[in-house]
């Protein structure tokens, strides 16, 4: 974990409503694991006070983040240009744990809702390296909000899409798609589910996993101030008491959570 003043290598609009920023932070790129995040100072002398957390989306030329403009911080971020410098603190948090074969061969099912795709692409790449069979389900409101289809494919995942309005892929929520996939796909694997997305979706997927006895790792988004476990602002209730999303998470095992 380091706080780095890093150069922006590129910052471009991607798709309909998202931006992708590549940041020259070799230390963070080397140290990062899928599921970890960085804290970025969006403004310099002005702008919001606190840093903003973003998942590490890819690790290539530098680290990449994929983000949605939802407020003042992300709006300022979207205005940054190649060559500008920003303060990036990371890598932070625990990250996903990759399944290890125990008896049955492991299989990963990745489920991304909306911007929740961000941390999961990096995970898919890692799973590919580990040669773990991966299925990726991508859900969004509508066709042009579907994120990272190509990236998941490039990472060797079998990709399925669902949109709430049926404009692309399966019609309905991604949880419906998940049900469907489970019906058709073989179960000779030890399945681990990785999910990131809106709160309601996380709960829904976690419930399905519980029924099926799948391990389910979910990445939670809580409001954060420090990102390093100092402020106690990002508490998550678990069966073993208060945990911190920034330090003990952001990835939690669904079975730990008391919701």
């Amino acid at each position: 974990m380091k706080d780095i003043r890093a150069k922006i290598l590129s910052n471009k609009k991607t798709g309909h409503a998202y931006y992708k920023m590549v940041i020259d932070a070799p230390y963070i790129a080397r140290a990062a694991k899928p599921g970890q995040f960085v804290q970025i100072k969006c403004g310099e002398n002005s702008g919001p006070l606190l840093r903003r957390p973003f998942s590490i989306h890819k690790v290539e030329r530098g680290i990449e983040i994929l983000y949605e403009v939802v407020g003042i911080g992300t709006r300022i971020l979207a205005g940054k240009r190649q060559g500008d410098f920003i303060d990036v603190l990371g890598p932070l948090g625990n990250g996903f744990s990759v399944p290890r074969a125990q008896g049955l061969k492991p299989r990963a099912i990745i489920i991304a809702g909306g911007i929740g795709a961000a941390p999961l692409v990096y995970l898919a790449e890692e799973l590919k390296k580990k040669k773990i069979k991966t299925i990726a389900l991508i859900g969004a409101k509508t066709k042009n909000l579907i994120l990272c289809e190509k990236d998941f494919k490039k990472a060797g995942a079998e990709v399925y899409i669902s949109t709430d309005d049926g404009s692309y892929g399966c019609h309905g929520f991604v949880s419906k798609l998940f049900h469907k996939i489970l019906k058709t796909s073989e179960s000779k694997f030890m399945t681990v589910v990785y999910v990131c997305g809106p709160h309601g979706m996380l709960r829904c997927i976690a419930d399905i996993c519980k029924e099926r006895n799948f391990e389910c790792q979910l990445s939670l988004e809580e409001r954060m101030a420090c990102g390093i476990g100092a402020c106690l602002g990002c508490v998550v209730n678990t069966i073993s008491g208060n945990k911190l999303a920034c330090k003990d998470g952001p990835v939690f095992n669904a079975s730990e959570l008391t919701w």
Binding site: M1, K2, D3, K41, P48, L49, L50, R51, D87, L89, E222, R223, M224, A225, C226, G227, I228, G229, A230, C231, L232, G233, C234, V235, G241, N242, K247
Partner: protein, 303 residues
């Protein structure tokens, strides 16, 4: 090289910059991000006798040039603190000041008594001003109660005692005076201002606890004024807190009369800010050819 050391009670600090309670965890959280040994002193997150779960989420929200927090003094309680945090803190080689709070005088007394026995603790900060616990008013909103809490602690410990004051009062000088009279070695101010924010679309409060404490640069002008008033009216050292984001702000507090400062919220924005502030103060002294940091304390010129 300018001389930066100052003294608060019996504690010798190599510089006047401290990390404020609740914003620096138990120091270890920052070990990879800054050189802890360069900080003047570290005040740990407030502990209570018994563990506290803290408030429901959300616990933080950002405001214009500030933030609201309603952590609610979540902590593991005294015993766990001693077992799990103290060993690391003892090895730091930096004065460590333990912030404590209690539901009543007894709890303050017991905590102080137990801490008094721990050699590696430099001092105790009495958090009588946390707005995030549900009860009728704060100790630090009442001169008599302040006097009594400080007095009880003073009786039981020879360690340096710092009383942390609340800005949510009509007359902070009166409360500071009560702390002084009761034998506090110093006062630190300010703790957070009680505030709140509402999400107009959901109509819900932005904090689970409804109200929370406001900190950050937004409060600095009020905090500087309070430090100025208090420093002119009491004889023990004043530690300035509130919205320090850079060394200029720290110097401003010292010119207003603070002997030392504490940095809170800024640690979240820049984990290296305490050390940077020390360096910035050094540069300021050099630039203005001032030999000792002491020479700027209360150095504002009335025109």
């Amino acid at each position: 090289m300018a001389i930066l050391d100052i003294k608060i009670g019996k504690i010798k600090l190599k510089n006047p910059v401290m990390a404020a309670s609740g914003t620096f965890g138990y120091a270890r959280e920052f070990e990879k991000l800054t050189d802890l040994s360069l900080i003047g002193a570290i005040i740990t997150k407030t502990i209570t006798l018994n563990p506290r779960q803290g408030n429901p989420m959300p616990r933080i929200c950002e405001t214009s040039a500030g933030m609201l927090n309603a952590i609610g003094l979540q902590n593991e309680g005294f015993d766990n603190f001693i077992k799990e945090k103290m060993p690391y803190l003892s090895r730091l080689g930096v004065p460590v000041i333990i912030s404590i709070s209690g539901n009543n005088i007894d709890e303050f007394f017991i905590l102080a008594k137990r801490l008094d026995k721990i050699k590696s603790i430099a001092g105790i900060e009495l958090n009588i001003s946390c707005p995030n616990i549900k009860c009728e008013g704060l100790v630090a909103q009442d001169a008599k109660e302040t006097y009594e809490v400080v007095k009880a602690v003073r009786k039981i410990t020879g360690k340096t005692v710092i009383t942390k004051l609340s800005p949510n009062v009509t007359d902070v000088v009166k409360i500071a005076g009560a702390a002084e009279d009761a034998g506090s070695d110093a006062v630190s101010l300010v703790n957070t201002f009680l505030g709140m924010a509402i999400d107009i679309d959901t109509r819900k409060p932005k904090l689970g606890n409804i109200t929370g404490g406001l900190s950050g640069p937004c409060i600095k002008p009020i905090a500087v004024r309070m430090v100025y008033e208090v420093a002119r009216n009491i004889d023990i050292p004043v530690i300035g807190i509130g919205g320090i984001m850079a060394s200029d702000d720290a110097i401003e507090f010292m010119l207003a009369g603070a002997t030392a400062v504490q940095i809170g919220t800024a640690n979240f924005v820049d984990p290296g800010i305490c050390v940077k502030t020390v360096r910035g103060i050094e540069n300021y002294l050099r630039k203005h050819k001032i030999e000792k940091i002491e020479d700027i304390i209360g150095g504002m010129e009335q025109k």
